[in-house]
Symmetry: C2
Subunit: 158 residues, 2 copies
């Protein structure tokens, strides 16, 4: 296996690498019967926070993947702002998570697939995210979407 | 002191009683140098969750009063939905907290003073709160507003 230096990798390549890490988190959620959404937060080529959805296990609607990743990353940096950080998340953040992202002033958000129903962008991006935050979508979109679509498909069959 | 049966008290009286409890939480935040916002969650006349802002102490933007109250209440009821519950919070919830309230399907939200800058209602109520949730504002408004205004006034003087 070829060693990849994250910082030298092109943006597209490194975005996919980190989204794969978010997908690993989503799979951890799936193994626990949770809606399979995962997230990582990256700063200077290093993953400083991870999270996967645990709302059922914890009986807590605030236990979204992104929220846990924000808390973990803030703990790592020893401060509440996530400047020079990127959030990678498999599914578009909901209003709660986008609202949390605002407070972190995170530099960049990259998500895989849209959440047509509860994605924050339904409210209009400008009013939710921090003006410093840039947004990118569609990284490993098909894989991120398929994971969640098949989860709900299987739930309906059972 | 006359004993007040919460369930028999008129709505206005009981709303003020619970908002005073939320104000007690806000004072706890103030004592720790935090932005003084407090919250309680009430179900059938009983306070089942409390929280005050701890974002500085925990270095965590997700540690808003409401978020902690949601988690505490969900823990109390043993489920993630807060049906037949009311959130009392001294200041209008931000987008993150309103987004969390959506997921809880909480029956009612009562807040004291508006947050003109970051209150969720800037985004339009209809799209943020759950259709089942009713909203009321202005309970002990002056007291709730004064607490936070004087906090920031003192911060500027120092």
């Amino acid at each position: 296996m070829k060693y990849i230096n994250f910082e030298e990798a092109s943006d597209t390549v490194s975005d996919e690498i980190y989204m794969k890490e978010a997908l690993k988190e989503a799979h951890k959620a799936l193994e626990q019967g949770e809606v399979p959404i995962g997230a990582v937060i990256v700063s200077n080529g290093r993953i400083i926070g991870r999270g996967h959805n645990l709302t059922e296990r914890l009986n807590d609607v605030t236990a979204h993947a992104e929220m846990q990743a924000f808390t973990a990353a803030a703990n790592y940096v020893g401060g509440k702002y996530l400047h020079d950080c990127t959030l990678y998340v498999t599914i578009e953040p909901c209003v709660m998570c986008a609202g949390a992202a605002y407070w972190t002033q995170i530099t960049r958000i990259v998500f895989g697939a849209r959440d047509e129903k509860r994605g924050f962008s339904n409210l209009g991006r400008a009013n939710v995210l921090h003006p410093k935050t840039t947004l990118m979508s569609g990284v490993l979109e098909a894989e991120c979407a398929e994971l969640i679509t098949s989860f709900f498909r299987n739930k309906r069959i059972k």
